[in-house]
Amino acid sequence: MTEMRLIASASPSLLQSPDHELCPGCGHPVAWRQVLEVLEELGVADRTVIVVGHGCYTQMMRLSDLDSLQCLHGRGPAVATGVKRMLPDAVVITLSGDGDMVSEGLAEVLHTAGRGERVTSLLFNNGVFGDTGGHMTAATVVGQRTKTSLSGRDPDEHGYPIDVSRLLATIDGAAYVARGAVNTAGMAARTKKMVRRAIELQMAGAGFTFVEVLTMCPTGWFVATPAGPEYLEESMMATYGIGELKAPPR
């Protein structure tokens, strides 16, 4: 009989259960895994507070072994401000989707960056309202078909997507702004480094830090599940370039 030996856990230790209710092919769990691994590696899980907006990713708060606060749609960065000011030594992280942040809560994230709040805001951007079943957000790329842009987002009719990372990079209070993705293992690993840098800079008191992660939503994009990663590269990445938009010198 061969003895089984665990080489690597399938789940990060900070996940109480892997049983999320998200669709096959969803990129959010992959993105969130990078965050949990960073918190574990930094050894800060016992001083971290997660502030979560409303969207599919709300699942991740429920499953994670982290003190967490569900807030109103779009208001995460403002709520996190109150948390951080009362707990200056805590690691405070907000989690939003593009509907939550770029549509509903654009003012909150911009003002929080302006104040240079020592919090890290994460944007899981899949370019649609996934939770409602595939509707257009302020970050939906031109040409993307949704249930409210049936023939694809048309600038004449629907206007243009807002690139919140580029906006944030212009704000002095933002110390770190980066955009990653999770469509390949390599891209996920690169994104994890961005998340780590953002949290380290928060802990160093550098200012507001921000990581946008492009994630797959084959359900909301109306493409086949296996096509999600490739579709992300063809559609979203053509609009939203990957990399660090703003970072202090090392």
Partner: protein, 357 residues
């Protein structure tokens, strides 16, 4: 006892800080502005944080975040700005976060806003309406206690007069008794223990610590407010025992009512007054008792008739009710108008008396 001459806003700020308020966020808007100014000046010295927020929505959500850590937190505005905060006030009720909200109102047209609220869900907002600065100080201290005791948003309905009047005030002791531990508060320390905490209006919990879920949680919250409705009302009444006419008013308007009641009593008229100190819960049982023998219940509020609804709900004889108030705003729009005046009220009371029961 030493008395210090303070503007009402400063006295309220002092009372909030003395009550342990350590987080305050607001967006400037008269007549709330001075409270924000005093907090900005005084709270940092007390080890707290005051943020000049960029919107009322951000202010109230910042306060919610601070409250979630267990800190005593407050925000405020006038009714126009508090209109923007309704969603977050409801959220505080439904996820059971203690939050103190100061409405330094421009008048009396926020009664429905305070007592009915504009957020979603089965919640109510405990609302105290002081008649003057000393009472505003007392209410401020009590409200921080009540917010923690009931894990709920609470409101003080002040106004321009309270915010701007300078009054000699004395520090008062404020011990309202023990409070339960805030074992629900988030500080991050439960992370990685397998029993991390969660604050969520749906109360679904986490896999290791399942919650009751939204249906049961919202029933529990509704039951909490139903119990408070029975027990938490406060009122003040004067000379109602033999009164055939009882004037009902709230807030600073009640000081004018008391003055006119004394005048009319001196003229031999059997007039008394009743004032809900808490707008919610409305002291309905007390109102019914105080007006049982009266043939006239005169409702005097400076709006189109909002508290009037609560008087109609609770008075035993609805036919005795006459509305003698009305919308009354001065030309600046920042404060009550001509009806906040003893002569104006006296004329309306005498006119109602002439009409007979």
């Amino acid at each position: 006892m030493t008395r210090t001459l303070l503007q009402g806003s400063e006295a309220v700020a002092d009372a909030a800080i003395a009550s342990g308020c350590r987080f305050f966020a607001g967006y400037p808007m008269l007549p709330f502005t001075e409270l924000l100014e005093h907090m900005a000046r005084k709270l940092p010295a007390a080890g707290g944080v005051c943020i000049n927020a960029d919107t009322e929505i951000e202010a109230v959500n910042m306060a919610l975040g601070a409250a979630a850590t267990g800190a005593r937190a407050a925000t405020g505005s006038c009714g126009q700005g508090i209109a923007l905060m309704q969603e977050a006030i409801a959220e505080a009720a439904l996820n059971e976060l203690p939050l103190v909200v100061f409405n330094m109102a421009r008048g009396q047209q926020d009664y429905f806003q305070a007592t009915r609220g504009g957020g979603w869900g089965d919640y109510r907002t405990i609302t105290y309406a002081p008649k003057d600065v000393p009472e505003a100080i007392e209410h401020t201290q009590l409200l921080f206690h009540l917010a923690d005791l009931h894990r709920a948003p609470v409101m003080m309905y002040g106004d321009y007069v309270i915010a701007h009047t300078h009054v000699g005030v004395s520090p008062i002791a404020a011990d309202f008794g023990p409070l339960p531990d805030k074992d629900w508060a988030l500080d991050g320390s439960a992370g990685g223990t397998g029993r991390a905490r969660q604050i969520w209006t749906w109360a679904r919990g986490k896999p290791n610590t399942p919650g009751v879920g939204p249906d049961q949680h919202w029933k529990d919250v509704a039951a909490k407010f139903a119990a408070l409705e029975e027990t938490a009302a406060r009122h003040e009444q004067r000379l109602v025992e033999d009164a055939d006419t009882v004037i009902v008013s709230f807030g600073t308007t009640a000081t004018v009512v008391d003055y006119v009641v004394d005048e009319l009593r001196a003229d031999g008229l059997r007039v008394g007054s009743f004032r809900p100190v808490t707008l919610w819960p409305f002291p309905g049982v007390a109102l019914a008792a105080a007006t049982r023998a009266a043939t006239r219940i005169l409702v005097y509020e400076l709006n189109a008739g909002q508290m009037l609804d609560d008087v109609r709900i609770h008075a035993t004889d609805r036919n005795a009710i006459r509305f003698i108030g009305g919308v009354s705003q001065d030309s600046s729009g920042m404060r009550q108008g001509d009806l906040l005046d003893a002569g104006a009220l006296r004329a309306r009371v005498l006119s109602a008396l002439k009409e007979g029961p």
